[in-house]
Structures are given as C-alpha cells and as structure tokens.
Symmetry: D2
Subunit: 247 residues, 4 copies
C-alpha cells in the first residue's frame, strides 16, 4: 500500500521574499513533494493560508506521514490544529520536522523542551556524518555527505536525548549539530532533519531528498493498531478495567 505523505509548509517567504522566491519559485513544498513522488510516495501539500492550515480531520485521516517546514509564522499556527496533529502522531502517524521547524509548536509540543539552538547565516559548508550506519534512514548515504551552502545550526540543541541519533553535522565555522534525530511519541515516530535554509537550494540536492525519502519509509512503517484493551470485566478476574481510565 502506497504511503500517503502530506508536505506542509508556511509557503509565505517564497511569495514575499525575492531571495527565497529565486530559489523556490513554486514553493519549498513543491520541491520536497516532487522528490517524494520520484521515490514512489503518494503526496499532497498543505500550507498555512488554507482553511485549518490544510490539515483538516479528513486530510490527517488519510495521511501516513506529515513533513513540516516552518520559519517565520510558527505563532500563527492554530492551537487546535496543533492538538489534532499531536493526537494523530500519538496514534501512529509519522512526522518529519525540517530545519527551522525545530521551533514549530508541534515539535516543541512533542519534545517538551525549548528546542533552542545556535545559528549563523554565512553560506557555509556543512558535512553530515552517519553515526548509526545500520539505521534505515542512513541507507545508501555512504559515511558522510556535503551540503553547501547551508545555514549553521549549532549545539547545544535543547531537545531530549534522541531515541536514536543517526546524523551529526560538521560546520566550517567550528560547530557540530545533532542533525538527524529519531524519537518515538505514543505510537508515532518523529524524525528531525536539520538542513534546509530557505535561500539555499538544499532540498534540490539528491542526497537530501534521499534522507527525506528514507525517513518517510521509517516513520511511515508503523501500523495503526486499534487499541486492544479489554474494556470488560474478564471472567477469570485476571484483568479488570472497570471504568474509564483515571477520570
């Protein structure tokens, strides 16, 4: 069954900022979506300006994996939509958080921390190293790859220790960053991937597209399982949940 991906972006700077428009004339989402279609996924896009930011109950019900890119409008995302996305992740939807979306409401909600980091915009070389070569997200990447130019993101990155750390970035200016971090929250898997500054053509790089496609496969692997909890008194008396839990 084809994995259904929804690519979400603000789609704002691509229309308002010439420097961004020059790199992503059809929007960042278009480039991410094309890369994923080339990898065989079924892809739709959604953005901030749409009603309910394009993330209605019915869209989420058909989404196996959601990718999220945001930058200047985190605060404009409606809390009710964040609640809905979080609930869907906890039920098993995969979530891929891209670059400046480290400060998105949904990522901070799932992490419980500030998600703060250091940054510098200096057209720098980044080399990203694979520190967990057997992880499915590292498939086909080799031992390292270069993204250049890229915005520097530096430690300390204020997130919980990842359940698996797959990628560590090296920046020419002297910093390192945990650039590929895996988490499980409820039944859902979450992957944070650091590259992707809006004025650099990062998402056009095949190796970056490969990481995102690998990540879609990995976070999308979870089967949505109906809860099997027994809600009736068991005849054996073994296992009894008499009433709704902890109301």
């Amino acid at each position: 069954m084809t994995t259904q991906v929804t690519v979400w972006t603000e789609y704002r700077e691509e229309r308002s900022d010439p420097a961004v428009k020059a790199v992503y004339p059809d929007g960042i989402h278009a480039v991410i979506a094309d890369g994923l279609r080339d990898s065989g996924f079924a892809v739709r896009t959604a953005n901030l300006e749409e009603p309910e930011h394009g993330l209605t109950e019915s869209v989420l019900a058909e989404t196996d994996v959601l990718t999220w890119w945001g930058h200047v409008a985190h605060d404009e995302v409606d809390d009710a939509v964040v609640d809905r996305v979080q609930q869907r992740v906890l039920e098993g939807m995969g979530l891929i958080v891209l670059h400046s979306a480290h400060f998105s409401k949904i990522f901070r909600r799932l992490m419980g921390t500030s998600c703060n980091l250091k940054w510098r915009e200096a057209e720098e070389r980044e080399r990203i190293w694979v520190v967990d070569p057997a992880h499915p997200i590292a498939a086909g990447l080799g031992e390292s790859f270069v993204v250049e130019p890229e915005e520097m993101y530096g430690e300390h990155f204020d997130v919980p220790a990842p359940d698996a750390l797959v990628l560590v970035g090296w920046f020419a200016g002297g910093e390192v960053f945990r650039s590929g971090c895996c988490y499980e929250r409820g039944r859902g898997r979450v992957f944070y991937f650091q590259p992707g500054h809006e004025t650099y053509p990062t998402y056009r790089q095949p190796v970056v597209q490969r990481v995102i496609a690998n990540a879609v496969r990995w976070v999308g692997e979870v089967r949505f399982q109906p809860s099997t909890r027994t809600k009736d008194p068991s005849p054996t008396g073994w296992y009894l949940t008499p009433a709704p839990v902890a109301t």
Copy 2:
C-alpha cells in the same frame, strides 16, 4: 548546601473525602514533607488553593526540587503556572511526579504524550523490582520491595521510553508497570514514581520514603549553570552568534 524541596499537592480530597482524610488527616503533603525532613532536606509545601497555587516566581527561584501529587483537579491548575514550572525545570530544577500526577499538565507537557495507563482499585499487593541496581535512586532498596495495598497501574503507559528505567512493578492481578522512570528535559531531571493512592498509607512506608529521598538527591544534583551562549538578540528575536567560533 541543603537541597530545597517544595512539596506540592492538590490538598483537596484530604479535606472533602472521609476515606482520604482517615489516612492522611493533615494532607498527603504533610507525610511526604516529614519524610523528606527526616532525610535532611529543607522542605516547604504548597497547594492548589493558594494564590498562584503557591508556586510564585520567588518560591520557584528558591526551589531545587519540586514534588507533584495531583488527582482530581489537574484541569484547575493555571496554564501560566505550568509554563513557569516547565521553564524552571528546563533551567535545571528537579521534578518528581507522583502516582496519579501522571495525568498532570506539567508531566504531560514535559513528556509530549497522553501519559495514559490502565488502573484498578482493588487493595492489591504490588511488588516493585529494581531493574537498574546501580542507579542512585535504587540505593539501599534491595532487589525488590512490597507495597500493599496499592492501586494497580498497568501497561501500556504512554510515555516516551525513559532515559533510565529503574523500577518495574508487579501486581497480584496480573499486570506490570514501569514504576520508576527517569527523564532529562532541558537541564532538569524528572522522575516518575508510581505508588501513592490517596486511600492507602503508601507514603508512610519507610521504603517509599527512601525512594522519594533518593530521587530528591538525584534530580536535585544538577547545578544551575549560567548559559554561556552569546545573548545578542538579533532583529528577528532569535539568538545570534556574531563570529565564527573556530577562528
């Protein structure tokens, strides 16, 4: 320097429910606080009915470790207070989350998940096993201890995989539970400890008091370190590191 502990409870059922009052006539907080004073900590208490629930900026500024017990009034806790406690944890304050506080706003905020579980109130025997005997929280516990009677809390417990799992509970009715879970969030340490039903004298048990005292030592060990980050807010309000650090 003596660790400063603030013991927070709702302090409601102890006044309204005769069955609870019978077990904790002076409030659950009084028993927890006495146990911690016996272990040499400086202890104050706070509860829901106080202004700002007793957790003002100045109280938190003097608190190294906060213990939290709540049950029927999670929703009455003001979001601004939850924000403040979360911020203080991220800066390094220790937090111990007790029993039914698995559903507290502050715990769910720091975990990012539903924190749901199964339960049954049946005056059952619980045996708690140490699965990480070298962890400081396990000091002096032996390989297992009994809490009886206790309310059953059963898996699946919907929390992120703990950074360290110290205790696993066994219940006579057939369930298991991850009863002692360690987390790090920001610079703060968090410990969830499962026993403590309001109609059972759990917090009077010396071994339970020992676990809580051990946990105060462990979560309270973090030194509050001034951030070394260059704090020049950029025009966008983000942080800017003006020069490459590699030079």
Copy 3:
C-alpha cells in the same frame, strides 16, 4: 528477497532427556524452523554436534538471521565459531537469542556483562506485556499474552539497558522480567526473547511463533552495506584516511 534464517540449537537434551524428548521429539529446532517456514522465511538448521557446529563461513555468509537456543553446553561452543558469529553480527547479520541462551558465549560477548538472572522451574503462568506497542516486534500481539506453563526468569537481569524494551513478563510467583530486549551491535540487530523452557511446549504456541517471526523481520531488515571507509592499512595496521575530507 527471502530472508535466510539459520536456526541453531544444541540438540542434546532432546536426545538424552526423556522429559525433553516427549515435548520436542524432533528437536526444539524443528518446531522453531517450521514456525518460521510457515511465515515465509527460508530456513536451515544447525547444531552443536555438526562440524564447526554447523556454522561454517559459507553457512554464515548465506545467513541473514541466526536464532540461538542453548542450555547445558554453552562451554562446548568453540571460541573460533563465537568469533565468527560475532564478526558476522557486527557486519549486519541479525541475531535472536532465545531463553537459556542468555548465558551463551555469543550473547555474553555482545553484551559485555554477566547476563545473569534469577530462575525457578515451577510450571508457572507467565503473562507478557507489550510496553512498546508501535515496535515492529509487537505487531499483532495485542496488549499482552499468556505463556503457561513457563519457567520463571526474574530480575535483576544483568544486561546493558536495551536500546528498546518491547516486552515485560509477569510471573505468578511474584517476579517481573525484561522479556523482549532490542540491541544494535555494529551493523547488526540483536533481540533477546525470554520464553522457551525445554520441557514446556512454548515454541508450539502461535503467539510465541509470531514474536519470533516479527523479530526475524526486524533484525533481518538491515542491509549489508559495503563499508565506504578508505581501506589503506597504515604500517601499524590501523586504518588511514590519507587526505582531509574537508578540502
């Protein structure tokens, strides 16, 4: 491509001990292998008495996943074979360690600890709980399942904290056990699964066969990737990367 599984056992007590022979007349390996064939895997078996214990270089070269059951003859396993199996795991072969093989040389080698535990043979009921319901090894299991009778294995289990803890066992006599533990070692994945006493028909239970089949899929998922490291042995025998990669 079909996953190639090699099912290894000592195949000794099934021939020498009537109580074991009664339950597994064709050997424990035959029952495990049949279950895996029913799940669509290509399966061969090997045992202690064969030359090189049936684990020659060529057999291992064709093995994606090795399952290991041992009990009374751990010390008879040749160290050279253990070296070879360890090397193959580090290159990416999956390993499933069953029941009393907690004390096998290969498991202790990969863990670095004593792998000691407590035990009691008393025809007890065990209930195994899923604590990580989104893990692939938990697929289709429901929230718990019963294995009865089973030998008690109890904490403390002296292994490193698992990279993922999937299953926790409850025993009627009062113990708990981390019954399903995931590890990554080198490029290989390792799964320890606790049930499987030789005088009980545990491996005939469909739910137990399901766990083992799920585990084969999970540990067998790793692609063997040729190392991309520059392989110029330096005079000391270490690896040398001749030129800085940043230029």
Copy 4:
C-alpha cells in the same frame, strides 16, 4: 570517603620514543595522576610491565575508579587481567577509557563491538562541544573547548549507542566524533574520552584534566552494594531462589 583512583598506562612509548618522551618525560600516567591529585583524589599508578600489569586482586579491591590508556601493546595485556578488571567493573568499579584505549581488550570486551574508528595525525585543531550540559561530566566546561593540536578521531565509531552522549568533537579537517560517551555495564559506569595523543601535551590542559576529574566523580559514584540475591547454588551451578517471593 576519598575516591581511590588507579591510573593505568602502558608506559612504553614514553621510554622508547623520543617524541613521546619529550612531551611526557615521566610518563603519561604521571600527568594524569597529578591532575587527579590536585582534584583531591587518592591516586596510585600501574603499568604494563609490572607483575599482573599492576592490577592484582588486592589493587583492584582498593580501586574505586580505574583510568586506562593504551596504544601499541593492547595484545600484550593478559586475558586473565582483563577478566579480573571486567568482573570488577560489573561489580561497580568505575572505568575511564582514554583515547587510543578504544582498542584495548577491556573496552572491546565491555562494548561487544570492534570499537573501530577513523584517524589522522595532522596536528589539528579540535573543538569539543557539550551536547548534554546538565550531565555531571560537563560541569564547569562551558559550551565548548578547544584541544590543539590533537589527533583526528572520526566517525563511524563502532560502539553501541551510548547511554548518554555528553561531548561531540569537531576537527578542522572535516570530521566529527562522539568524544565523550557514557555506559553502564553491570553495576559499573564507563566513560570513554577521546583526546590524548601521546605526542601532544593534551593531558596537561586544565580543561582536559577537568573532564577527567568530573568523570572520576561520576563513574565513582556507584556504591558497591552487596547482592541481595539468595545465593544457594543449585546442583547445576545456577542460582536458585527456593521459594516464590510473592507469598
């Protein structure tokens, strides 16, 4: 009670290689030991040429924390001594593994992996970043520090994912490395710390001495607890718990 540290080195290149002798005329162990004495620890040293490499039963019995530096003579370390050290770590002794000791028998024994890495000797600048600022080993370090010159150690480092990752190194040539890794094995804590090439005065740097002193405190924190296990060896030599603990 003062923590008793034993500083172990090969003490060979300092006597045979003029380039090493020039930097460490009294041996690497002397510099490490002096730094630890300045931090208030009780320190003795031991080396390869001593009987039993200076690590007799009685020395280990009085050792809370062992630091290990080796390079050219890993294979000359007697397996019986490695067994003894491993056993002592599993009982609770702290172990700090320094630089090229990543290939020592004791570290590979405790990790279960090859512990391989990439390296280059080019008098490079290394900057080490703190990625877990609340960890006790990071106390007082600031957000990063420079070690220059240092030998490059690069990923992939073939070790199990650390229980806590505290430090990540950046090298001028383009590599990164997990430079400060925490493990728990049995009741013992293990810390691997990457800097320390024998021809560079790394161990004379105050910040490097600070990391090692912090690590001694952290790995030395474990209390040796007498096992509470019922120690009635059964006829098979396994442990027997004679009666169900639930009664």
